[in-house]
């Protein structure tokens, strides 16, 4: 009872908020700053852990060794034909994700258009994509390697299968969610089928489609790396496995950091692109 009544005593609440305000005023709002701060903290803890010998430097080399190596610019692993560098590996993996996602988006768009235009086929398409969507992207790896092999096409195919189900479902859902008024008005204004898709439905689903692309990127990113670790013979995931087999733990760590950093950066880029598109269409 006492405690309940205390804040009501005159003056106190005002003083408290003033105090809080004085603190929060010194907290910077820049996201980038907080991002750097968080990473600085992780790196410091990691270095401290190695220094205290909590972490075995053979397995987890400290940042004071890893970072100079990462920045030295001539990171590579393997010999002869198998030789692969960080930059090259990253480019290969990103290209695979991009190609696979584009192909997925293309096929998903065709499925979505068919589902909307032909209600009979919608009944066939929906169960197929609904069964595809919940399959974990990595589940396609053994099948793909057995059927397609361990080349680049296999990686692209894994990405494609990873995104096809979810992308189709989200596109169909976004199309179903278009407010009926827009479609009714467009129809009464004598809009042809093609113009209906191009000028009404497409701009109307931009926000939904951008979210779908962002969401499926994570699945695609994880699937392609897992595929490269499981046997596909190039790319970032492959580089990490090679490094591990040659006991180059510094490179393993750098690979992991690269995965996290690139994943984050691409997600941010997609978010930015989405905001741009939205601004343009609203």
């Amino acid at each position: 009872m006492q405690a309940m009544q205390q804040p009501r005593s005159p003056g106190k609440p005002g003083q408290q908020t003033a105090l809080i305000n004085r603190f929060t005023r010194w907290i910077p709002q820049s996201n980038l700053l907080w991002f750097c701060l968080a990473w600085l903290l992780i790196i410091l803890l990691w270095e401290f852990g190695s220094w205290m010998e909590w972490l075995n430097p053979q397995i987890l080399p400290p940042p004071s060794q890893t970072l100079p190596y990462a920045l030295s610019g001539n990171i590579s692993i393997g010999f002869g034909q198998q030789k692969t560098g960080l930059l090259e590996a990253t480019t290969i993996t990103l290209a695979r994700v991009g190609t696979g996602m584009l192909a997925g988006l293309l096929v998903a768009s065709c499925l979505a258009v068919t589902a909307i235009e032909l209600p009979v086929l919608r009944r066939l398409i929906l169960p197929i994509v609904q069964s595809l969507a919940p399959i974990a992207p990595v589940a396609w790896i053994p099948f793909t390697i057995a059927v397609i092999g361990i080349g680049g096409q296999a990686a692209i195919f894994i990405v494609f299968m990873a995104v096809l189900g979810t992308m189709s479902l989200s596109l169909i859902a976004a199309l179903d969610d278009i407010p009926a008024e827009y479609l009714k008005i467009a129809r009464s204004l004598g809009t042809s089928r093609i113009r209906m898709w191009w000028h009404i439905r497409l701009p109307a689903i931009v926000p939904g489609a951008m979210t779908a692309i962002r969401m499926s990127f994570f699945g695609a990113w994880m699937a392609v790396l897992a595929g490269e670790m499981a046997g596909i013979n190039s790319g970032l995931g492959y580089m990490i496995i090679m490094a591990q087999q040659m006991y180059n733990m510094k490179l393993v760590m750098i690979g992991i950091l690269a995965i996290g950093f690139i994943g984050f950066a691409v997600d941010r880029l997609l978010l930015l692109a989405g905001a741009r598109l939205l601004q343009w269409t609203r």
Binding site: E181, K184, I185, L189, G190, H199, P203
Partner: protein, 285 residues
């Protein structure tokens, strides 16, 4: 924007192509039954909407006004009976018909001028020409300076005016309005009513309009179809409103009709309150 200024622009309507009146469509609803579930249905035994008339559907929420409008637009079809448009039974979207809703009339991804140009582009007009025309139509509703704005940057009243400008551009024979001014404040609503009357007078279009607002109905309508919701949605009465135009709410004759209508609506409310189906619903709530 100065609304009074715009109004004066609207009353000095330019005598251009919009005045070349096309004849309005004639609509006949006969023996309509439309149900959505076992309990909900709408009936209209006989409602004739003459060419060039302005008919208002008035009734409480849920009595089936929007349903009838969708049937008139040929966007939905009755289970029984038919809607004919100039003696032809509607089997698809009604020809030269424009819809205006309470909101979402403009496509938010197009600018004001692109919205107005859109139906012209549908008809195959070249882009620059369509935009040129669009700006002319925007001028008629006093919004040419907002041609490049997106709907999100405009007020609700401006958006409805642009929808009206687009309607003028399409030169429809039938104009269907579903509570077009309900989201607007009183002054803007009055202004929009006058705009609508201008469009109607200058074009000869047939108008079917839904409203909840008794005053609005009396200011605009040739005929008022009163809808009731029990036992099912149906047209309870059709009144010819023979008041002189321009109408004046202070006119005793206006007031008399208003009182009559008021009494009807009150009666309809009382009926609904004693409706056993609604009563059980009330008890549950």
């Amino acid at each position: 924007m100065d609304t009074v200024n715009n109004m004066s622009q609207a009353t000095t309507y330019p005598a251009d192509n919009t005045t070349s009146s096309t004849t309005g469509a004639r609509l006949v609803f006969s023996n309509i039954r439309k149900s959505f579930s076992d309990t909900v249905s709408v009936e209209a035994d006989s409602l004739i909407i003459e060419s060039g008339s302005l008919t208002v559907l008035l009734g409480r929420s849920g009595c089936g006004k929007t349903t009838l409008l969708n049937l008139a637009a040929g966007l939905d079809f009755p289970d029984q009976g038919s809607v004919s448009y100039d003696n032809q039974i509607l089997q698809g979207p009604a020809p030269s018909t424009t819809l205006i809703f309470q909101t979402r009339n403009l496509f938010p991804w197009m600018t004001a001028e692109e919205n107005v140009a859109f139906p012209l582009r549908n008809q195959g007009m070249a882009k620059t020409e369509a935009l040129e025309h669009a700006r002319q139509y925007l001028k008629q509703v006093g919004l040419e300076s907002f041609a490049g704005h997106k709907p999100a940057q405009l007020s609700g009243g401006m958006r409805q005016r642009i929808a009206l400008a687009r309607t003028i551009a399409t030169k429809p024979r039938l104009l269907l309005l579903d509570e077009p001014f309900s989201a607007l404040d009183m002054q803007t609503r009055r202004m929009m009513q006058r705009y609508l009357l201008d469009v109607w007078k200058n074009s000869g279009v047939t108008i079917l309009m839904i409203t909840h607002d008794l005053h609005e109905a009396l200011m605009l309508a040739d005929r008022i179809a009163l809808m009731a919701s029990s036992p099912t949605g149906h047209i309870a009465d059709i009144l010819d409103i023979k008041l002189e135009r321009p109408r004046d709410p202070e006119d005793p004759a206006f007031r008399t009709v208003q009182q009559q209508l008021d009494r009807f609506l009150e009666h309809e409310t009382l009926l609904a309150e004693h409706d056993p189906t609604l009563e059980s619903a009330n008890q549950q709530a």
